[in-house]
Amino acid sequence: MRTCLVVDDSSVIRKVARRIIEDMEFSIVEAEDGEQALGHCVESMPDVVLLDWNMPVMDGLMFLQELRTLPGGEAPQVIFCTTENDVGQIARAMRAGANEYIMKPFDRDIIESKFSQTGLI
């Protein structure tokens, strides 16, 4: 089974995302900040990362930049999932190596749509 790493400092968001993504037959690993997420990636590279932007310790953008320098770190599809909805921020995330972008609040349709667009389902 493929793995999705859900990175968000909100346990509620992680729980909601887990419920939706598990239904798409992914196993879920959770992290509450970028540093914890990097640790998971070093241990085992996920197939996809659902990534919040604003988090304590290490934010989403810094995590993404670090991830892409890791061996095999170019492989995971990274989908930002954040309240940051300004066009400039979206463009910045895409330049940093994100594959897709979700503006919160999200629903099941949006997650499925983004997973489909990135060829994950």
């Binding site: 300004d86 979206i90 463009a91 972008y101 979700i102 349709d109 489909s116």
Partner: protein, 284 residues
Amino acid sequence: MNSATFAYLSDFIKDRSGLVLSEEKQYLVETRLLPVARKHDITNLDALATALRTPFSGDLATDVIEAMTTNETFFFRDMTPFDNLKETVLPALMKSRTSGRLRIWCAAASSGQEPYSIAIVLKELGAKAAGFTFDIIGTDLSMEVLERAKAATYSQFEVQRGLPVNLLLKYFSQNGDTWQVNQDIRSMVQFRPLNLLRDFSALGVFDIVFCRNVLIYFDRETKTDVLARLAKQMTPDGFLVLGAAETVVGITEAFRPMAGKRGLYQNSLTPAATPREHLKLSVG
């Protein structure tokens, strides 16, 4: 709602829109029409049916038909039709014509996501479409959704269902929490009110017709009639795109399904291509 009211409303709706409502769709009628009743200060659906029988019920009748026929849609809905457009339909037409004008009709344009998705596909062709101009006509029964379509302004939710973020950045402008389709895409599409049950020959002849998720609501006789009239409004080498749950098989001989291309049909006047010829057709 008593059974006489349901019978009256379903006859009224079928007569005006072609939409066929079986008994098990009673919940749908209640869900869609109770807000209309409230808007017109009518207490329940029995009273609404009575009001529709009176003269001067024009606004109420329009609201009833719009409420029953408006369906949620999104950008690049189901994706396959747009892949077929890009990989099969456009290469075939551009190969046979070499230059000129291609006319595309979205027969159930709703709030505009489908015609704008088509316009984006055409824009993305870039230099491959050199020598061609495209007209996209979007029609719908509902004036209300057409006004939304013309405004081309969508919520954050709407632009995230089906639309890849790179296309959002490229073809939309942000205005607070809403996003508007840019003028270069908007200018490729014209919208007009139209009831498919009525004569549509004045629209002219089209090379491509998208008529998705409309026929499923019609009875067999209406489907046959609409498809026959559609065929007359299409070029001999024209393509028809239907919804994934729709087919022409057993309904009309006017169109022929394309092998391996779900939802895609060719005018029967087109000579059938061999599988080898299909393989040759690709943009670029």
